[in-house]
Amino acid sequence: MIAGPGTNRDLDVRQALELAGATTEIVLASELVERPTLLDAAGLVVVAGGFSYADSLGAGRMLALDLALGVGDALRRFIADGRPLIGICNGFQVLTAAGLLPGALGHNAQGRFDCRWVVLDPVPESVSIWTAGIDDPIHCPIAHGEGRYVHPDPDALHAAGQVALRYRSTNPNGSVADIAGVCDPSGVVLGLMPHPENHIVARQHPRHSRGGGGAEHLGLRLFDNGIRHAKGL
């Protein structure tokens, strides 16, 4: 897990990864810049959510600058090797700002931070290894103020199999074409605004006591996929 000053969902992600069978290490971007070889030891990399550098001047941009200038090449090699990389919330913003994923994340259309549970439909045509084989919708919360996905040509993106997740029924932030998550052309890099790491056990679902949620709707399955892919390399 790569963290910057203000990354704050790293502990949530750690719980998800470890439940999915991974061993985890949190590495600060500054440490990674000093020792890019730390990436060699990683089978899978997560850029976790939060407010890196307080999101001043645009969510994720300063951390993106650190990574792009400091370890851009190493990250591109990591991806070229087919090793899985995921950016969640602020991590998604970082990966787009760093040019590792297409598009950008703007201020929510309603102009405010919003925290609520949403339903995500995996896009069957997607080439993402993270959502592959997941048919049931994923239930998990969003918690962001800059989650409006912007892309000049969402249809082309879909045609390329890079639209991985869409908001079902309610689009909470005005994202183009209800897009909640996108991947790189190879499918090993996923970025999404919602927080699958906050739905790893059934009890976390708001309606669990009334039969809501359930194993088939866990966000944990994304991490299962990523880890399975990493182990298969």
Binding site: P5, G6, N8, R9, L11, D12, Q15, L19, L28, S30, E31, G50, F51, Y53, A54, D55, S56, L57, G58, R61, M62, L65, D66, L69, A97, G103, A104, G106, H107, N108, A109, Q110, G111, R112, F113, D114, C115, R116, W117, P141, A143, G145, V150, H151, P152, H195, E197, N198, I200, V201, R203, Q204, P206, R207, S209, R210
Partner: protein, 942 residues
């Protein structure tokens, strides 16, 4: 002088901030026909060539979202810049980006540019900016292209002044008190004068500010420690123990096995599960929030999080209870110099959300109250709980330990906050108090958490830098042991600070720890890794003296025993209230169904979804019962429950507050809000025998005997309730002098506002209970007795109170037994849903259960012969439960199984017809209930 450059950044899609400004203005009756545009302006100074400007813009502007230009705009606009010294995280980010790009910058500043259409003249633009955009306390603005103010105090090297105090008579002492805004009592000034006459020297400005801070109401709780003579009591004149002593004695008497630390240090500590402890604390930040709502609330949250960090626990959740004036107050009715309640509310909520969301803690429990009395005195209560593996509480510092300051640099922010908070406000407060307002930097505090959690073995004592700054933090740590510190070693934001300013500054995000010399290197390494500044500013000496140096001069030399014990105990007079306890008076309601809808739509009861969704209540993945629950996630929960994903046990948080009862019977009010807080945690499945309490009093000027009398009565109510429920108080905070003297000379005081926070143990977080009705055919049962108690009720708030109001809700001595039985029934799995009965009475509780579950209820029996009393009385100790038919007998046996009789009434059944049908009144559809409850807020109350 390097060149100045300005990068103006505009959003490609409409910037939502523009619409927000127009909406906020419209709410104040200022209608802007044309849209408002907002741009960000980045000012940098340095020698930059075009290539460097292009690369810098490339890092600061996202071409898919924004346009950036180095050209100064031609169009007219109002530009808003921060005053010198105000925290500017955006500027820090620019400097960071420049460093990464190897671009040398001398300085950076960030500004906002508001652009109006031509039809808005300069005067109107000013009005809008002043009312809804900028705040003169921390910002300045002008028309056209405005350069940021540059702070140039480089050549200014202020030193400590010596102030003549020896030989001053009372009038001269009072003059000194006013001149330096010390807010000390004359008796206290005399004691200080006599001490310095004994020492044979005059006092330095740093010393006198140290006394003003240490002996301030805010830090010394002079009223809660005062000797109080009472009049008007049933047995005539008398005397009561100091209020703080009463609360402590009560906790000692209860002697709960789970209490680890009560009323000492930064927060209370209780045992949670085997090997785990919980720290809990709630604070007020009222005065700062009144003059700068965002910064006041923002730093209020930051401060209470530091309190928990300051007792070596990892913060895990934040709570907030907010009291505002009416959001629809006409501008003409707004007292001179006060901000509009809507402006205050929006700023406070932004401030709470900004801090909690950015530092990464769930903001889970809270309340929002509206009353005209809060218009000029908004109240902001922020709470925090933390967890830690059980370990001995740090018992240092010890002689030889280093005095180490961690975190942010010190600036001229928050000067005299402690004394300011102890004063009454008036129309000029905004200006004079400017310096006592701070803007927080939650990321710096997040890094402090990262550095300090896990470092518990590297320090012998820890405290946070809050009100009073280093003076308070180091002064308190040095009590009895002494310290010798050098202000020149304290990191500064900018030069030119006077020694007393460095010592008193309340610059945020700082902690002070006592570090044994052998651990300094390890601590430095931890802090370097995460990027926390470490300053070793001195040593704890062991000689009991507080020595502070500046420029090689000793500017403070005070015996810490005199500093902490030399203050004369206040002696005060309280005129005890004589509430009506004997004559119940009922109410008449013409249309009960319409009244139920009116109650649901009342701002105090209506949905707070608009606010709740602004807070991240999911982070850490431990939120099991959320503030909003039910079929459409729009029903109000009672308490919230936190439990780690794999843990069986959980923590319940409940809040009790009701100032309206306090207007009629402060003692009964205190009992009622303790009962409400406990009822809220019991309702979700917490164990009533494992509850700890926090008290937060926000009161008017206690020097008014009637006001102090209400405080004395409330404390007695607190202690009585704590004993009855066996629920100890482990920490608390009082905020007094919440008064405002209008330009008309009129005093406006807050109603007696006591917030009780209950933290309780949930034995089985897998089976928490929520208020949403679950299954048609299930039986609806009321637990508890209903009496004719309407004084301070919300029925009176919606339809007006009669001249004779009758009784406020009275204590229910049987409640603890009832709650224990209800908990047993829950553990036995007999209870499907449960909701506490509070504001608006049974009718509102039933309505909320229906709308939460999107199911109907048919109520054919009521618990009182008088329909209005049965539906709208607010008697304490009541809950509504849903029980499957097959479990009703078992439930009745458990709940009624007591010598005190049977308190359960079978009201009716859950239905699938989407109607709340109560015998004797018109049926109401779930749609009508939901619209009344959600209406204004769903429309977006901002």
């Amino acid at each position: 002088m390097a060149d100045r450059h300005r990068l103006t950044i505009r959003s490609i899609d409409p910037d939502p901030r523009g619409a927000a400004i127009a909406t906020a203005a419209a709410h104040l009756g200022i209608d802007l026909a044309s849209p408002v545009a907002v741009a960000d302006v980045i000012h940098v100074s340095g020698t930059l060539d075009d290539d460097q400007r292009t690369r810098l813009a490339g890092a600061l502007v996202d071409p898919l979202l924004q346009h950036g230009t180095w050209q100064s705009p031609e169009s007219d606009g109002v530009e808003i810049t921060l005053l010198p010294g105000v925290t500017d995280t955006a500027a820090d980010a620019v400097l960071h980006a420049a460093r990464q790009l190897d671009i040398a910058l001398d300085s950076a500043a960030n500004a906002r540019r508001i652009e109006f259409e031509a039809d808005v003249d300069a005067a109107l633009a000013d009005e809008v900016v002043r009312r809804v955009v900028a705040n003169a306390v921390i910002e300045r603005w002008g028309h056209g292209v405005v350069d940021p103010p540059v702070l140039d105090d480089t050549d200014n090297h202020p030193t400590a002044e010596v102030i003549t105090i020896r030989g001053l008579d009372d009038d001269e002492l009072i003059a000194l008190n006013t001149e330096r805004s010390l807010y000390l009592d004359l008796e206290e000034l005399r004691v200080i004068r006599d001490e310095y006459e004994r020492l044979g020297r005059d006092i330095t400005d740093v010393e006198i500010e140290t006394f003003a801070q240490t002996w301030s109401e805010h830090c010394a709780h002079k009223t809660f420690r005062a000797l109080i003579d009472t009049t008007g009591g049933p047995d005539g004149p008398g005397q009561v123990l100091p209020l703080l002593a009463q609360l402590r004695d009560c906790t000692d008497a209860i002697d709960a096995p789970f209490v680890r630390s009560a009323f000492v240090g930064n927060a209370g500590v209780i045992e949670f599960t085997e090997g785990t402890t919980i720290a809990l604390k709630a604070e007020t930040h009222n005065h700062p929030s009144a003059v700068e709502p965002f910064g006041g609330a923002n730093t209020g949250v930051g401060g209470v999080i530091r309190d928990v960090l300051g007792i070596a626990h990892r913060p895990v959740a934040v709570t907030d209870i907010l009291c505002f004036g009416p959001a629809d107050l006409p501008l003409d009715d707004l007292p001179e110099g006060a901000l509009h309640p809507r402006r205050i509310r929006d700023g406070v909520i932004d401030g709470v959300a900004d801090y909690g969301n950015k530092i990464g803690l769930p903001t889970v429990a809270g309340a929002i109250l509206y009353d005209p009395a809060y218009t000029t005195n908004p109240l902001v209560f922020a709470g925090c709980i933390g967890t830690a593996p059980s370990r001995p509480i740090h018992d240092g510092p010890f002689a030889g330990d280093r005095v180490v300051v961690l975190g942010g640099a010190t600036g001229r922010d928050g000067i005299r906050g402690a004394t300011f908070s102890s004063a009454t406000m008036d129309a000029t407060t905004g200006e004079v108090a400017g310096a006592s307002v701070q803007i927080g930097d939650p990321i710096v505090e997040k890094l402090l958490i990262d550095a300090l959690i896990g470092a518990e073995d590297l320090y012998s004592a820890i405290t946070d830098c809050g009100a009073g700054g280093l003076s308070s933090a180091i002064g308190e740590m040095a009590e009895g042991i002494g310290a010798d510190v050098d202000l020149d070693l304290v990191p500064r934001k900018y030069p030119g600070l006077a020694p007393w300013e460095v010592w008193l500054s309340e610059a945020q995000e700082r902690m002070v720890i006592a570090v044994p010399p052998e651990h300094l290197a390890a601590l430095q390494a931890r802090c370097d890794r995460v990027g926390v500044r470490v300053a070793d500013v001195g040593v704890f000496t062991g000689d009991g003296r507080l020595i502070v140096r500046h420029d090689g001069q000793v500017v403070v030399d005070i015996d810490t025993t005199f500093l902490h014990d030399g203050r004369p105990q206040r002696r005060m007079t309280a005129e005890l209230p004589a509430p009506n306890r004997t004559d119940p008076i009922g109410r008449h309601v013409i249309d009960p169904a319409a009244t139920i809808l009116a109650l649901l739509a009342h701002p105090n009861i209506a949905s707070k979804a608009d606010t709740i969704h602004r807070y991240d209540h999911e982070i850490l993945g431990a939120t099991v019962v959320r503030p909003l629950i039910g079929a459409a996630a729009d029903g109000p929960a009672d308490g919230v429950v936190l439990a780690d994903p794999h843990a069986r046990e959980g923590i319940a948080i409940g809040i009790g507050v009701n100032p309206w009862y306090g207007l009629h019977d402060p003692e009964a009010m205190a009992f009622a809000v303790v009962d409400e807080a406990i009822r809220n945690v019991v309702a979700v499945g917490a164990d009533p025998d494992r509850v700890a309490l926090l008290d937060n009093f926000s009161w008017g000027d206690p020097r008014r005997p009637s006001t102090l009398g209400e405080l004395v009565a409330a404390v007695e109510g607190c202690c009585a309730a704590a004993r009855v429920y066996n629920a100890p108080f482990v920490s608390g905070k009082d905020s007094l002098n919440n008064e405002y003297v209008g330009a008309d000379g009129q005093r406006h005081a807050v109603p007696p506002t006591l917030v009780i926070t209950a933290i309780a143990h949930v034995p089985d977080a897998d089976h928490c209970v929520t208020p949403d009705l679950a299954e048609p055919g299930n039986v609806v049962i009321l637990v508890g007795r209903t009496e004719v108690e309407f004084a301070g009720s919300h029925l009176d708030l919606v339809q007006g109170a009669p001249d004779a109001v009758g009784l406020a809700p009275a204590p229910v001595p049987n409640a603890p037994v009832m709650y224990r039985n209800l908990h047993a029934a829950m553990r036995a799995g007999l209870v499907v849903s449960c909701h506490d009965v509070s504001e608006g009475g049974l009718a509102v509780a039933l309505a909320e259960m229906c709308l939460a579950g999107r199911l109907g209820a048919r109520i054919d029996t009521l618990a009182h012969d008088d329909l209005v009393t049965a539906l709208f009385s607010e008697s304490c100790g009541r809950l509504v439960v849903e029980v499957p038919p097959a479990s009703v007998d078992a439930f009745m046996t458990i709940i009624g199984n007591s010598a005190m009789g049977n308190w359960a009434t079978r009201l009716g059944v859950v239905t699938d017809d989407s109607l709340l049908s109560i015998a004797g009144i018109d049926a109401i559809t779930i749609g009508e209930l939901a619209d009344a409850f959600n209406g204004d807020h769903r429309a977006g109350a901002r």
